[in-house]
């Protein structure tokens, strides 16, 4: 992990000096994470792919503005967030959906996958994004606040609300034997 961080830093330094090859290596390292983040956020494969392309293009064009290479992941996801929300606002200005709890108990893996996707889809864009950044990308609250350009308290509030809604579907009360 330490080696990987050092290598990323070196690649960023080279990319800042105009080395396209170094940037291509960075792209190959991050494209899958960015694509999956965008796919789960915008929920359209082609849109996610186009947005991924745009994200890496903008990142390259602005990489000289990145002062601290250690912040590359949060900076890259900030760009991805902006791109995704531009599209979401264009396609769906209201953007909010109501979560409808459905129990996902005793499911097979494929059913569980569908249940999780369904539960995530029923969240609002803001709530879903908080879950994506925490659960799938492993960002800390402070990093999420940087990416989303909002206070840590807002990040926590969004994530906690999302977890409460997801809990109703993915871990209903009777699972724990509380009833």
């Amino acid at each position: 992990m330490i080696f990987r961080e050092v290598e990323d830093r070196d690649l960023i330094a080279k990319a800042r000096r105009g080395h396209v090859d170094a940037y291509n290596v960075l792209v190959s390292r991050w494209e899958k994470r960015i694509f999956n983040y965008l796919l789960r956020l915008v929920r359209q494969r082609e849109d996610a792919l186009d947005l991924s392309q745009d994200v890496f293009l903008k990142a390259y064009q602005n990489i000289k503005k990145l002062d601290d290479p250690a912040k590359f992941p949060a900076w890259l996801f900030r760009i991805a967030h902006n791109e995704a929300y531009s599209l979401l606002r264009k396609n769906r200005p209201e953007g909010e959906l109501t979560a409808v709890p459905e129990a996902a108990t005793g499911l097979f893996p494929i059913e569980m996958t569908l249940a999780v996707r369904g539960a995530l889809d029923r969240l609002s864009d803001d709530h879903r994004e908080a879950v994506l950044l925490k659960v799938y990308q492993g960002f800390k609250f402070e990093e999420m606040a940087e990416i989303l350009a909002c206070p840590v308290s807002t990040v926590k509030s969004r994530l906690y609300t999302a977890l409460d809604l997801l809990k109703q579907t993915l871990a209903p009360v009777n699972i724990g034997g509380a009833e």
Partner: protein
């Protein structure tokens, strides 16, 4: 500690420090409600984490993108032959300069200035010719390598397509044979049925 003071969600998402985690652990051991709540949060997290990342359908393209093409000076700077040419020119210039400077020191056995200059010019011309030959050889080799790589890739792709087509043909043939067999059986049944019909 009161249940309301505990941040179970922060615990579940790994945002608590070790000391705070110990506090939650201690509390949860003696509080059934908080234990159940934490179990549900962990179950939720596990369910979410079970969702696998998808492979990107096609790689992000950059090398072919105009925006990412290097500027002319970057191209020259990174070009081996061009840099070789520049180095050789510098060397030639240094030889010429050395020839002129050497004339200024008597007793060093240098040739006549005119002869030295001619020699330097000859050296420069020779170096340039060698350089050009070297550059040409490297460019030819690079082009040949690129062409052979492209041909090999094309051949491999053709072989793959041929194999896939043949496989599909075999599958279709098998399906056709299976269907024929089925229809033959059906026809046989109809014939038997129609033969038996009038007898009844």
């Amino acid at each position: 500690m009161s249940c309301s003071l505990l941040d179970l969600k922060a615990y579940a998402v790994g945002e608590l420090a070790e000391r705070e985690k110990s506090t939650v652990d201690d509390h949860v051991r003696g509080c059934e409600n908080c234990r159940e709540e934490l179990d549900r949060l962990r179950l939720t997290w596990s369910a979410l984490a079970s969702l696998q990342d998808e492979e990107i359908p096609r790689r992000i393209a950059f090398v072919s993108d105009q925006v990412f093409e290097p500027r002319w000076w970057q191209t020259i700077w990174r070009s081996g032959p061009a840099m070789g040419f520049a180095s050789a020119s510098l060397l030639a210039a240094a030889i010429v300069a050395h020839g002129f400077l050497g004339y200024g020191f008597p007793g060093h056995g240098f040739a006549h200035p005119a002869a030295t200059a001619t020699g330097a010019q000859l050296d420069t011309a020779q170096i340039e010719r060698r350089m050009e030959a070297g550059v040409n050889a490297r460019v030819d080799a690079a082009v040949a390598q690129a062409v052979s790589a492209a041909q090999a890739k094309q051949s491999a792709e053709f072989a793959r397509l041929l194999k896939a087509t043949e496989h599909q043909r075999q599958m279709d043939l098998a399906d056709f044979e299976q269907a024929s067999e089925y229809y033959e059986k059906q026809m046989h049944r109809f014939e038997v049925a129609s033969n038996e019909g009038p007898a009844q």
